[in-house]
Amino acid sequence: MVVGDVTTGTDVLIIGAGPAGYVAAIRAGQLDLDVTLVEKEAYGGTCLNHGCIPSKALITATDIAHDARNAEAMGIHADPAIDLAGMVDWKDGVVDQLTSGVEKLCKANQVNLLEGTATFTDEHTARVSHSGEGQGSETLEFEHAVVATGSRPIEIPNFEFGDEPVLNSRQALALDSVPDSLVVVGAGYIGMELASVFAKLGTDVTVIEMLDSILPGYDDDLKRPVKQRANDLGIEFEFGYTASEWHERADGEGITVAADPVEETAADGGSAEAIEDETGESLELDAEKVLVAVGREPVSDTLDLEAAGVETDDRGFIETDSRARTNVDHVFAVGDVAGEPMLAHKGSAEGQVAAEVIAGEPAAIDYQAMPAVVFTDPEIATVGMTESEAEENGFDTVVGQFPFRASGRALTTGESDGFVKVVAEEEDGYVLGASIVGPEASELIAELGLAIELGATLEDVASTVHAHPTLSESVMEAAENALGHAIHTLNR
C-alpha cells in the first residue's frame, strides 16, 4: 500500500477495524478479495480497546477478589487487596495481546492495513488522511466499500466527557485509582456492569435512571436477581430522575450531581414507566466522579456518507438489508453503525456476510437467534424470542423453567440465584427463545442459540444427555419442564 498523495485502487475498502470491520476484512481476504482496511485509532475498535474486553477483564478480576472475600460460608477467610493500577495494567496487556493478534490475523489473510481517517469523496472514491508521522492524505478507489465505523457514547447536556470528573465508559475503564464515590447516569447494561465493578472495588455507587427499573428491555424476572445483588453490593438507585448538571463542591472535596425528576410525559415511550417524583424536587448527590452511560450513537456523521449517496435513518444509523447492503448497491454497512442490537457479535456476523456477498456468495444474515449478554452479577443472557414476543408473533407458546437453586452444580459453586427459561412453540415444541439469569448465563445460552438455529424441539434438547454435575443440565431440565416431565423440579 503506497502512502502519499496518490490514488490507489482496492476491490474492497473497509472503514473501521472494530469487530465488524476487521472480521469483514479477514473473511474478504480468505475469499481472495483485494481488501484495504482503514482504521483511524486502534485495531479492534471499541470492543477490544474500550468495551467488551476491558470491561469483562475488570469484571472477572474484581469477581475473583469479591468471591474470595465472600466465601466465609465455604470456610475461606480472605481479605484481598486490590491495586487498581496493577489491574488496569494487566487489562491493558490483555488488550494489547488481542489487538496485536487482530493485526497479525489481518496480515496473514492478505488484508492491506492503512492507518488514517477515511471520508467518502464520491461513490467510488474515498480520501484517507493520516495524522501524526506519515501526515498527508491519499485517495482510494474502490469497487465495494464496507462502512464499519461503529458508535460512540452519547453526551448529555452539561456533562462533557472532556471535563475531568465526568467519565464515559472508556475513561472509567482506564481509571487507575478507585474513586471513593461515583454517580452512574443510566442503568443500561454498560452502566450496570460498571456500577458493579466499582461497588466491588469499594466505591459508593449511586445509579440515576430515567425509567423505573434497571436494564430497560429485559423482562422483570430476569432483572430481579441482578437488582437484588446490586442492592446487596450497596449500590443505591434513584429511578425516575435525569441528571441535569454538576458542579465542584465548595469544600473542594468532590462534585455534586444534580438530578431532576422525570415528568411523566417526558418519559421514554418504552414499556417501563417513569415514576413521577411525589414532591417534584431535585436531587443533589455528592460524589468524586460521575459516569455517563446513557447509550451510544452511530458514527455516521464524520465520513461524508452523502458523497457516496448512502442514507441514514433519523437516528443516524445506516439502513441495510439482510445482505448488509445499504441503499447504494456496492456499499455495505455492518456493526453498530448499521443499527441495533449494538453488540460485537452482531457486527462480526454482519461483517462476514458483507464479505461473502461481495465475493458473490449467497450469504444473508438472520437475526432470529442473535444472543445478547449482560455481564452483571449474576449474568443475563437471552436468545430468540421472549414469551411475549412469541405470542405477539402469533405462536401458541409453552414455557419451561429451571431454577439454579435446584442445580447440584450451582450449589457447589455457592452461586444459585437465577433460572433458565425456554420458550417453545406449543404444538411441535420448536424452541423459539430462551433467557437465563445466573451463573455462566453467557456460556449456557450458546446451546440454546444452536437449538433455535437448527429448528430443534424441546424433546431434542431434553433427550440430549448433559454431563453431571454441570449448569448446562439446567437447560435440559427447563426443556423437560416445558414438556411436563422435569426430574429435578416440580412440573407445574
Binding site: E425, D428, Y430, G455, T457, E459, S463
Partner: protein, 100 residues
C-alpha cells in the same frame, strides 16, 4: 452396551425426536432417504414413510424456520414406507443403517 459403535454405513443422522418417531412407527431409519441438509433425516421423512404416502402433507407441518429442512424434496422416500421394520429389542432404529 456403551460399546455400540456406528460406521459410516450404519450411522444415521437424525435428531432425537425423529429417532423416537421412527421407533414409535416401527420404521428403520436406515431405509429412509433423508431430505435434510446432507441427507439428514427429518420428521417429515418419517411421517411420510409412516403414512406410506407423499411427503407434501408432512412438510406443511414444519414451521418457516426449518424451511431448509422441509424445503428439499424427498424424492423416493415414499417407496420406502413399506420397508418399515419392527425395532423392538437390541437392534434399534437409531443405530440403523445410513441412508446413502
Amino acid at each position: 452396551d456403551a460399546e455400540e459403535t456406528a460406521t459410516p454405513q450404519d450411522r444415521v443422522f437424525a435428531p432425537p425426536r425423529v429417532r423416537r418417531m421412527a421407533r414409535e412407527e416401527g420404521i428403520d431409519l436406515s431405509s429412509l432417504e433423508g431430505s435434510g441438509p446432507g441427507g439428514r433425516i427429518t420428521a417429515a421423512d418419517v411421517q411420510a414413510a409412516a403414512s406410506g404416502g407423499p411427503v407434501g402433507g408432512a412438510q406443511a407441518q414444519q414451521p418457516a424456520e426449518t424451511a431448509a429442512e422441509s424445503g428439499a424434496t424427498t424424492g423416493d422416500s415414499s417407496e420406502t414406507g413399506g420397508a418399515a421394520v419392527e425395532t423392538e429389542g437390541r437392534t434399534e432404529a437409531e443405530s440403523g443403517i445410513e441412508s446413502e
